[in-house]
C-alpha cells in the first residue's frame, strides 16, 4: 500500500503544480513553478525505473529549459502588470463570446485526455516490447548499460540526427540574431562577489561530476547528454558570474564546438561503411568508439546548450539591470 502511496502523492502533486504553472498570472513565478514540476517529474522517472531519464530530466528538462525560460521571462517582468490587465480583453471571435476560447479549448483538451486514456486502457493485456531483444544483442554492442547500447549503437542513427537537431537549433538561433558568434551578449559586470566565489568552487567540481557521469554511462545509468548538460550549467554559471563563458569563443571555435559531435558521428559512420553499413561498430572496438562519440557529445552538448542560453537573452540590449529583476509587488 505504502509503495503505491508515494506514486499517488507524487503524481497528484505533479498534476497540481502543472495546473499552477498554467494559472500563475506572473510569468516569473510560473517559470519557477515549471522548474519545480520538472524536478518532481524526474522523481517520477526514478519511480518508473528510468534513472537515465531522471538525470536527463533534472539536468536538461527542468534545469536548462528552466533557465532558458527564466532568461526569456526576465525582460517580460516590466510588462507583466500591463499584460495581466489586458489578459481579460481578448480579440477577434473571442470578443463576441467572452470566455468562449477558454471553454472550447478546455473541452478540446479534456476530450483529448479522455481519448488518450481510452487508448491506454485498450493497449494489449500482456506487455510487448524490445527488452529481451536488447538484452540478447547488448553483448555485441560493446557496453553493458542497455540505454547506452540502444542510444549509441543499435539506434546510433537516431542519436546522430538528434545531435543534428541540437546543432540546427544553435545555427537557427545564431541566424535569428543575425550573428556568427555570441560576442555581443553582454556578460554581467557587477555581479555579486558571492556568485563569483561559488563559481570558483563549483566549476571544477562540475567538471569532475560530468567526467564521472560520462565514464559511468557505459555500465550504469549516466551518459553523455546528462554530463553535457552539467557542463552546460557550469558554462552558464561562468557567464552569470562575470567570466566570459561561451560568449568568449571566436566564430571559428564556437562553430567547431557546436558541430564537433555531429561531425564525429559522420566520420565514424563513414569509417563504418568500409567493413559493413553506415555507423557499424561492434564489441571491443565498439566500446572505444562509443566512448569517443560520447566525449564529443559531452563537449558539443555543453557548448550548444550554453549558446542557446545566451541566444535566449537579448543580444544587443544590455541585461545588467535584468539580473536583479525582481518580481513586481503583488498586483491585481
Amino acid at each position: 500500500m505504502l509503495e503505491h502511496g508515494v506514486d499517488i502523492v507524487l503524481a497528484g502533486s505533479i498534476a497540481v503544480v502543472a495546473w499552477r504553472v498554467l494559472l500563475e498570472p506572473q510569468l516569473f513565478r510560473s517559470m519557477v513553478l515549471f522548474i519545480a514540476m520538472g524536478l518532481m517529474l524526474s522523481l517520477a522517472w526514478v519511480r518508473l525505473a528510468a534513472p537515465d531519464i531522471a538525470l536527463a530530466e533534472a539536468a536538461i528538462g527542468a534545469g536548462l529549459t528552466g533557465i532558458l525560460l527564466i532568461r526569456a521571462a526576465q525582460t517580460e517582468a516590466a510588462q507583466e502588470a500591463a499584460a495581466a490587465a489586458r489578459e481579460a480583453a481578448t480579440s477577434g471571435w473571442r470578443r463576441w463570446f467572452p470566455g468562449a476560447g477558454r471553454i472550447v479549448s478546455a473541452a478540446a483538451a479534456l476530450a483529448f485526455a479522455a481519448v488518450l486514456l481510452v487508448a491506454v486502457i485498450d493497449l494489449p493485456g500482456e506487455p510487448i516490447g524490445l527488452t529481451e531483444a536488447a538484452a540478447t544483442e547488448m553483448e555485441a554492442s560493446g557496453v553493458e548499460h542497455p540505454v547506452t547500447s540502444v542510444l549509441l549503437n543499435f539506434r546510433a542513427y537516431d542519436t546522430w540526427l538528434e545531435v543534428g537537431v541540437l546543432l540546427l537549433a544553435a545555427m537557427g538561433v545564431l541566424a535569428i540574431h543575425r550573428t556568427y558568434n555570441l560576442r555581443s551578449t553582454r556578460s554581467e559586470e557587477h555581479t555579486m562577489l558571492v556568485l563569483t566565489w561559488l563559481a570558483r568552487i563549483i566549476l571544477p567540481l562540475a567538471v569532475l561530476i560530468a567526467g564521472y557521469l560520462y565514464w559511468s554511462g557505459t555500465h550504469q545509468p549516466g551518459g553523455a547528454f546528462q554530463a553535457g548538460a552539467i557542463l552546460a550549467a557550469a558554462l552558464v554559471l561562468m557567464q552569470l558570474a562575470g567570466f566570459r563563458g561561451v560568449s568568449g569563443l571566436s566564430t571559428l571555435w564556437l562553430g567547431a564546438g557546436l558541430m564537433l559531435s555531429f561531425a564525429a558521428f559522420l566520420a565514424v559512420g563513414f569509417i563504418g561503411t568500409f567493413e559493413g553499413e553506415f555507423l557499424r561498430y561492434r564489441h571491443a572496438t565498439g566500446e572505444l568508439i562509443i566512448l569517443a562519440l560520447e566525449l564529443t557529445i559531452v563537449v558539443s552538448t555543453a557548448v550548444t546548450l550554453a549558446a542557446l542560453f545566451a541566444g535566449a537573452g537579448s543580444q544587443s540590449g544590455d541585461d545588467s539591470d535584468a539580473v536583479r529583476a525582481r518580481t513586481p509587488p503583488e498586483s491585481l
Binding site: F154, G164, M171, G172, A256, M259, L279
Partner: protein, 497 residues
C-alpha cells in the same frame, strides 16, 4: 560507401557541416555542387530500384526490430529525385539571389543560408528513405527547425512572426505525432514499419486512436485545411528559394508520411469514414485556399494560398483508396496522387522563384505593380505562364495526367462528388492563375526603378517550369518506376539489403 543510401545521407549533412565552418563567399557554389551530388545519388538509387526492386539498408548492421532500417521503393526514389532536382535548381537560383547583398553588413544571409539549406536537404532525404516510426519523428523535427530558421532568415517582423507560428504549429504537431508513436509502440512493441504492417494486416489489431493522433499531427504539418493558418505567411515571407522549397517539398514530406502509413502500413486499419473525412477536409482546403488566393493582393501570398489549395487536392486521394473495395483503379488513384505531388513540386517551385525574381526586380510584389512584365522580365513571364499552366493542370503538364488518373478513379469507384471537387479545383486554380498572368499583359507603363536581375535567377525558374511540362510529355518512365514496390502488394518484412 558502396550504397546510394549512404551517399544520400552523407553528402548533404557533410556539406552542411563544412559550409558551417567555411568562411567566405564560396558557400553558395559549394551548396550547388552538393545538391548536384545528391541528385546523382538519387539517380543511382532510382536505377537500383528500377533494376532490382525495392532496396533495403540496415543501419549499423542491426536488423529490423532493434536497429533502424532504410527502405526505398518506387515512390521514395521518385520523390528523392524530385527533391534533389528542385533543390539543385533552387540553389542555382540562390547564387544570384544572395549575390546582391555582398556589400551589405558583416553578417550576410548567404553565409547563414547555406548550412541550414543543406541540413534541410539532408533531413528530406533522411525522411524519404526512413523506415522507422521514431526515425521519421526525428527527421520531421530536423525539417521543422531548419524550415523555421530559414523562414526567420529573412528578418523583419512579418518573417519572424511567420516563423513563430510555423514553429508553434509544427512543435505541437510533432508532439501529437510522438504521442501516436508511443501508443503504437505500446500496441505493437516494434518501431519498424514493415514489421508493424505485417502485424497490423487484416485489421485485427487496429489502434484507431493512435492512428488518429499520428494523422492529426501529420495533418497539421501538411497544412490540411483547418490547420493551414500557419502556412501562407511562413511560405510568403521567407526568402524566395526557401519559400519555393517549403511549398514544393517540405509540405509534401508530411503528406508522404501520411500516404506511406495510410496506404502501405495501416491499409486494413483505416476506415472508410476516415477516408471520406480526409477527402472532405481536402475539398474544403481547395475551396478555402483558392478563395484566399483570389482575394490576396501580394503575389507571394497568392502563390502560398494556392499551396494550401493544392495540398487539399492531394488529400482527395484517400477516399478513392479506402473503403471502396478492391479495384484496379486504386493504383491509378495512388499513382495519380503521387504524380500530382511531383508536378506540383516543380510548378510551385518555378512559380515561387519567378515571384521572387519579380519581388527582387520591382522591390514589392503587389500584383497591381506587376506592370509591363513582358517587357522588363520576358523569361520570368514565360516561366510564370508555363508554371501557371502546370499548376492549373492544362494538358501539356504533369498535373493534367494526375488529374486524368484521379478522375478515372473517381468515376470507376462511383464517387461522383469527388469529380465535381476536382473540376471546381481546376477552375478555381485557373481563376487565380489567370489573375497573375493577366497582370503581365497589362499595357506597358514601365515602373521607374527596375533593379537588374541576375540571369541565373530567371533561367532557374524557367528550367523548373519546363520540367513540370516535361513531366506531362514523358510520363511513361516515372509511372513504371512508381510500379516498383507499389502498395496493394504485401510488403515483405526485412527487405534484403
Amino acid at each position: 560507401m558502396s550504397s546510394p543510401f549512404e551517399w544520400l545521407i552523407f553528402l548533404p549533412f557533410a556539406g552542411g557541416v563544412i559550409t558551417f565552418l567555411l568562411p567566405g563567399k564560396s558557400r553558395p557554389w559549394l551548396a550547388l555542387l552538393l545538391t548536384v551530388g545528391t541528385f546523382a545519388a538519387a539517380w543511382w538509387l532510382a536505377s537500383d530500384v528500377w533494376r532490382e526492386g525495392p532496396q533495403g539498408y540496415a543501419l549499423g548492421g542491426w536488423e529490423a526490430p532493434l536497429g533502424i532500417n532504410l527502405y526505398a521503393d518506387g515512390l521514395s526514389a521518385l520523390l528523392l529525385l524530385t527533391t534533389s532536382a528542385v533543390m539543385t535548381l533552387a540553389s542555382f537560383y540562390s547564387l544570384g539571389y544572395f549575390s546582391r547583398e555582398a556589400e551589405a553588413s558583416s553578417w550576410t544571409e548567404a553565409r547563414a543560408f547555406v548550412p541550414l539549406w543543406l541540413f534541410l536537404l539532408g533531413s528530406l532525404n533522411a525522411l524519404f528513405v526512413s523506415r522507422d516510426l521514431f526515425n521519421l519523428y526525428v527527421a520531421l523535427e530536423l525539417l521543422t527547425i531548419a524550415g523555421v530558421a530559414l523562414v526567420a532568415l529573412a528578418g523583419g517582423a512579418t518573417a519572424l512572426r511567420a516563423g513563430m507560428r510555423y514553429l508553434l504549429a509544427a512543435f505541437l504537431a510533432s508532439l501529437l505525432y510522438l504521442m501516436g508513436v508511443a501508443l503504437l509502440y505500446g500496441e505493437f512493441g516494434v518501431l519498424d514499419l514493415a514489421l508493424i504492417a505485417e502485424a497490423a494486416e487484416g485489421g485485427t489489431r487496429a489502434p484507431v486512436i493512435a492512428l488518429a493522433f499520428v494523422f492529426l499531427g501529420l495533418g497539421i504539418k501538411a497544412a490540411l485545411f483547418p490547420f493551414h493558418a500557419w502556412l501562407p505567411h511562413a511560405h510568403a515571407s521567407a526568402p524566395a528559394p526557401v519559400s519555393a522549397v517549403l511549398s514544393a517539398l517540405v509540405v509534401k514530406a508530411a503528406f508522404y508520411v501520411i500516404l506511406r502509413l495510410w496506404v502501405d502500413v495501416f491499409a486494413d486499419s483505416v476506415t472508410a469514414p476516415a477516408a471520406q473525412a480526409a477527402g472532405a477536409l481536402g475539398a474544403a482546403g481547395i475551396l478555402w485556399g483558392s478563395f484566399q488566393a483570389l482575394r490576396e493582393q501580394r503575389l507571394k501570398l497568392v502563390v502560398a494560398h494556392s499551396t494550401v489549395a493544392q495540398v487539399g487536392y492531394l488529400f482527395l486521394l484517400f477516399p478513392l483508396l479506402t473503403g471502396v473495395g478492391e479495384g484496379a483503379w486504386r493504383f491509378d488513384a495512388w499513382a495519380g496522387g503521387v504524380y500530382h505531388m511531383m508536378s506540383h513540386a516543380f510548378a510551385k517551385g518555378a512559380l515561387f522563384l519567378a515571384a521572387g525574381t519579380i519581388l527582387y526586380a520591382y522591390g514589392n510584389d503587389q500584383i497591381s505593380a506587376m506592370r509591363g512584365l513582358t517587357r522588363t522580365l520576358p523569361i520570368t513571364t514565360v516561366s510564370f505562364g508555363i508554371a501557371g499552366i502546370a499548376l492549373v493542370g492544362l494538358p501539356p503538364s504533369g498535373s493534367f495526367i494526375a488529374k486524368w488518373m484521379l478522375l478515372t478513379a473517381t468515376i470507376e469507384s462511383a464517387q461522383w462528388w469527388w469529380a465535381v471537387v476536382i473540376g471546381a479545383g481546376t477552375l478555381l486554380s485557373g481563376a487565380y492563375v489567370y489573375r497573375l498572368v493577366s497582370a503581365a499583359f497589362t499595357p506597358d507603363t514601365l515602373p521607374e526603378s527596375i533593379r537588374p536581375v541576375p540571369r541565373v535567377m530567371e533561367y532557374a525558374s524557367l528550367i523548373l517550369a519546363l520540367t513540370s511540362l516535361g513531366l506531362g510529355l514523358r510520363a511513361a518512365e516515372p509511372f513504371d518506376l512508381l510500379e516498383v514496390g507499389a502498395p496493394f502488394s504485401m510488403i515483405v518484412a526485412g527487405v534484403g539489403t
